[in-house]
Symmetry: C2
Subunit: 212 residues, 2 copies
């Protein structure tokens, strides 16, 4: 990251915005509903997408999986038999619209109606880069502590929904979920889902809302 490859005088955010708009138009033209899942490492983004694929088994789903390195998440999604593309960013700390533009060249958009994008595990950088999706959401795990919203307000503010995951671990943690909910109400009043992706708790409500 931080190595910016741009033509003189062009604002990278502006370039990203334009590509994102084009992608969004393409999604609409093809009738594809696209969702960007952001969130820190280990917050449970991949497992939530796996559970959504299981629940939405009457839908044609595509997935773009972003990681700095490796294909662990790609393999996890691949076993569901859906279209999936892996993006390894190398050193970049977020996906951008240009990377997604290339990834969707590898997906037959005529054959899917939902596209899930799993962003790089990071609560800071992805916020600045719209990927042309219809909705953006942040996944936080209760194991991250109860101060993550006020520590990283921007990513919550630019999101449409917030998933608080791993709520099954609450009894074993010194974490007050009410503090998180109060911070959300104050800093970024968005739709909130409480989930335990391991057991599947809360995923049905999420799936229904995403498609509404």
């Amino acid at each position: 990251m931080h190595k910016i490859d741009m033509e003189m005088g062009k604002d990278i955010y502006e370039v990203n915005r334009k590509i994102a708009q084009e992608i969004n138009r393409l999604f609409d033209e093809k009738g594809v509903k696209a969702i960007d899942f952001m969130g820190s490492i280990g917050s449970g983004k991949t497992l939530i997408i796996e559970r959504l694929i299981e629940i939405l088994n009457d839908r044609k789903i595509g997935v773009i999986v972003g990681d700095v390195s490796g294909d662990d998440d790609y393999k996890r999604i691949k076993k569901y038999g859906v279209q999936v593309v892996n993006i390894n960013t190398g050193k970049e700390c977020h996906l951008d619209a240009h990377l997604v533009e290339h990834a969707i060249e590898e997906i037959n958009l005529n054959e899917i109606d939902i596209l899930f994008i799993e962003n790089i595990g990071n609560l800071v950088c992805p916020a600045d880069f719209d990927l042309g999706t219809h909705k953006r959401g942040v996944v936080i795990s209760i194991t991250e502590g109860d101060d993550m919203v006020r520590k990283h307000p921007l990513i919550f503010q630019i999101s449409d929904f917030i998933i608080i995951n791993k709520i099954d671990l609450l009894p074993y943690m010194d974490v007050e979920i009410d503090k998180v909910l109060k911070d959300i109400e104050k800093i970024a009043p968005k739709k909130v889902f409480l989930t335990d992706a391991k057991s599947g708790k809360g995923i049905k409500e999420l799936a229904e809302w995403l498609l509404s």
Copy 2:
């Protein structure tokens, strides 16, 4: 992040390296041992530093706390009565040597012999920015899953030590710690500490090693 403020033609990494070298010389001159703690959000960096302060109560300690926003961690450290400086980066996803250079202007280096720096919660960006410390370490929480080392190899490779924290939660997680240890051995064979910062388990060994 991604907004790079530089003079034409200057490499930001090279600029950072030079400032880091100056900081390192200053630490040596003042007899201060400095440690950079990196790691994702909620991995337990602050609590580990708190436990180290408790154990090293015969030492004069200073702390620099980095966060995108807020002063939660600052307040937690402040109550120990040590010198502490809060850096809010706003949108930056890592500390850099220039930020640390200004932070240490607010610390009386003649009155401390150890400086802990808590970096921004992020497993990608901080890796590229040496802060002039004598040792750099990564804290990972077992709740992040067992694939985080191979997903983010660089930050482990440039570190001197790795802390695997929250091992008390292992019984409640589908996580195999052996997988993490094998990845470390293969990708970044560094000194490893298994800790449960909540109870203090493993912190004494860490403190002894850091000062050795």
